[in-house]
Symmetry: C2
Subunit: 259 residues, 2 copies
């Protein structure tokens, strides 16, 4: 399995604090030592860092922890390999361009013997995750108009997510830089931080931050992660089958499978 | 204008020495201060670093200079903006997936009012360079079979390159991780280093390397750059209209426009 970390904010915000906590789980406080990656949107552009080394000892991860890259939407993943060898091509998040935007995807879970519908988008590596992402990209390309509104987009993404979740475990983060779609098949949690900001303590490292000193009163910053990253805040735990579409730090659409 | 740097090697090799020279031209010894980027292939995967900051003062460039990332094929670019604002989405090299491989492209030059043929591949930013790359990707998708051999591939790439060069300035580096295609419209040079290796001195920084200490007798490493990066080696200067297809450090096909 793997761990996911996403951020949605209304102002460019760095991910250093949460990333520091997550990377400890990549070989130190957690077993997810088979590579890590992160995507930071900056406007329509995206900054990518991928490394098949354990995040807890990666010089590139150290840079990302200490150099505040500011973004309104970010997606991060640390990997514990099940399907596909440990190599760069199998390291999440995966990226494809569609309709003039970069789409970024990270997955926690496993779908055995997943069969992808044919289409122009093909996997480069050999993980089930990238295969699913390509299936998703090919199918939205056929199903959605390029300027789909969030409601229409969410309806299609939820339908696909439920289809994938029915075949295995499918927790995911997906973004095109405008919004962040999150689907919980088994495990996902979120927290929204807004004024009045307080301090927070990481679970996985002896690091405390005082968000008040780092923010303005109008900032809204939401963090979505496989497991809560702090020990002294109340995280919202997703229910299995629950999804949320985030934009600028707020949930703009959400729902839950009725079964 | 911009500067290009490419590497083709028969064994995974770091680019630290050449990259250190090139990055000085990004705001220090040269005016190319409007961002930089580099792509390192590792198997079928690709590691990307992009930064709209000047390379001579970028903490990320500093990491890439000092952390030896080993690759058989790499493409690097430093930008002096002409078309398109200075932002991440406009920072080369550009990447698209096609036929299960990442294709990476960097361009030096300018084609005013370039008109792209429609197709699934669309630019995210607003440079002429990315627009040309998308045109190229869409046209090879229609023209080439997915398993095209180097000769067939080169024929199509050269035809496209000559068409682009006829409309403006088009020096380029393009790779899918197996080969590196290089086309000179106005300015490009290369050097192939093999045993017996000697020392080399950068033009743009007070840095010398002794390649013998860093290589084995079987290594073949070729560097392709807009302008020679060292002051004490004999570089081959491309003629306008000349192209070379590199693989594992060697030229496997080459030619020159007959006009």
């Amino acid at each position: 399995m793997c761990e996911l970390l996403g951020m949605s904010a209304n102002t460019p915000t760095d991910l250093c604090f949460s990333f520091t906590g997550l990377t400890q789980r990549g070989g130190n406080t957690g077993p997810h030592k088979d590579g890590w990656g992160v995507a930071f949107y900056e406007g329509k552009g995206v900054r990518l860092f991928h490394d098949p080394q354990p995040s807890c000892s990666s010089p590139i991860a150290e840079l990302v922890q200490s150099y505040p890259i500011k973004s309104k939407t970010a997606i991060c993943h640390i990997r514990q390999a099940n399907v596909g060898e440990i190599c760069l091509a199998n390291t999440h998040p995966f990226v494809r361009e569609r309709w003039g935007r970069y789409w970024v995807f990270a997955h926690n879970g496993q779908i055995a013997n997943f069969s992808r519908q044919p289409g122009p988008c093909e996997p480069v590596g050999d993980t089930d995750s990238e295969n699913i992402f390509c299936d998703l990209m090919n199918r939205i390309h056929h199903t959605l108009p390029r300027d789909a509104m969030p409601e229409q987009l969410a309806a299609v993404l939820v339908e696909l997510a439920e289809e994938y979740a029915a075949q295995g475990v499918f927790n995911c983060l997906l973004s095109n830089g405008q919004w962040l779609f999150t689907y919980c098949s088994t495990k996902l949690a979120s927290i929204t931080r807004r004024a009045p900001f307080g301090p927070a303590q990481l679970k996985d490292a002896d690091v405390t931050v005082d968000f008040e000193a780092e923010t303005t009163p109008n900032d809204v910053v939401s963090i979505i992660a496989t497991e809560p990253l702090t020990s002294d805040e109340a995280w919202d735990v997703y229910q299995p089958g629950e999804w949320k579409l985030w934009e600028c730090g707020e949930v703009i659409a959400s729902g839950k499978r009725q079964r």
